[in-house]
């Protein structure tokens, strides 16, 4: 079955170097470094990645970081709380614009 998102394609991510190896190598080296333990733990970074994956709505990233957070010892409650952080920011970003709407209403309405 043809589909835009094929779960098997996630395993082929590293193949993107086929068309442009130098930039792919730089990206994957950078990517690897980003997720290492640092000022934030690898576990914290994985939860951030899971939240961002939901914000950018990337099915590959959601699959990858659901498993990765489990493999970092997180539980279901922690995964869902991370998603709610993304949801709160995303929803808040819409809602905060209502101030502009209210300003405009007050500007034009009696």
């Amino acid at each position: 079955m043809k589909t835009y998102y094929n779960p098997e394609d996630l395993k082929k991510f590293s193949n993107v170097g086929e068309f442009e190896p130098n930039l792919a190598k730089k990206f994957f080296d950078y990517y690897g470094d980003v997720f290492k333990d640092g000022a934030l733990t690898a576990r914290e970074k994985s939860l951030i990645a899971l939240a961002v994956a939901h914000t950018v709505q990337c099915p590959y990233c959601i699959d990858a970081y659901t498993v990765d957070t489990l493999e970092k010892g997180c539980d279901e409650a922690q995964l869902m709380e991370a998603v709610h952080v993304a949801v709160a920011i995303r929803g808040g970003a819409s809602l905060v614009h209502s101030v502009q709407m209210m300003n405009k209403v007050k500007e034009v309405a009696m």
Binding site: K11, T41, R43, E71, K72, G73, D75, E76
Partner: protein
Amino acid sequence: MTTATKSLKSRHSEFADSYFQLQVISSTAQNGHAHLQFEKKLEESGLYPLRPQKLEIFQINLGKMCNQVCKHCHVDAGPDRKEIMTRETMEQCLIAIRQSGAHTVDLTGGAPEMNPDFRWFVKEISKLGVEKIIVRCNLTIILANKKYHDLPDFFKEHGIEVVSSLPFYNSTRTDAQRGDGVFEKSIQALKMLNQVGYGAEASGLVLNLVYNPSGAFLPPSQSTLEAEYKKRLESHFGIRFNSLFTITNLPISRFLEYLMETGNYSDYMDKLIQAFNPVAAANVMCRNTISVGWDGYIYDCDFNQMLDLKVNHPLQHIADFGKKDIQDRDIIVNQHCYGCTAGAGSSCGGATA
């Protein structure tokens, strides 16, 4: 994971048959994926054929009988399993332990405490003067019947190192893998062990916990998760323990059934193979351990035991131990061995790399 209620054997599942399991895991292609043979990976690392080193640990399975039916159990243990070690075989084990020079005796099951000769056997092993006796206690057995309530005192009396599975620090994950109510009972049992001194630094009584994933994924970093377990168990329940061992689920028995039934098998094997770590491969437990089954047959490890892969050696029964050097053999490997070599490695003592 849904909770199993009966063993594969009593359900007449084809996964109860070790030959069937080997057919499944030996098939190098599943759903179009090619799974590289484990022997080839070992060859690439210069480790094939895999040879034993000095024998240090004598692991004895006292039987498949257990009060729990865990979803991932590689032994296919449960209340409906009646295979247990006889006192005669235990006596043969005692002679072999003395001859072997092994410093550690590791008693497992099932629930080893359910064997009626368990306490006699522990007392006899104590007389041999080995450095360490480990009992793999599933915790709930301590509460299962009045006759087991004094197990913490018995363990203390004989200086037993207790190793207990607690797949997570909450009930959701633990009960999903080990059965409804297991987490709460495990916490009660851990408190009883703490009360007699287990887990306290100065007591010398060692209580180690085991994490294994409740699903088709790899374990976290052992040290990171140990810190998290200690924080959670201390703050929520006042429980102390010494070390956490992270163990990878091997694709055999009930966990293999789970992987196949949920469509996770092929991806899980890919994950194990991709995570192959040559350092973990060099440190696999089968190199310094032998595993004795309830019927006295000898295996390279507990997993080979469950697949009925007896040692590749002319003398395969504990009654013949010592007549010829058991360490002079090639260790039998198959695709399930990827479970012990993935990532930070896995053994009955946790990570190996």
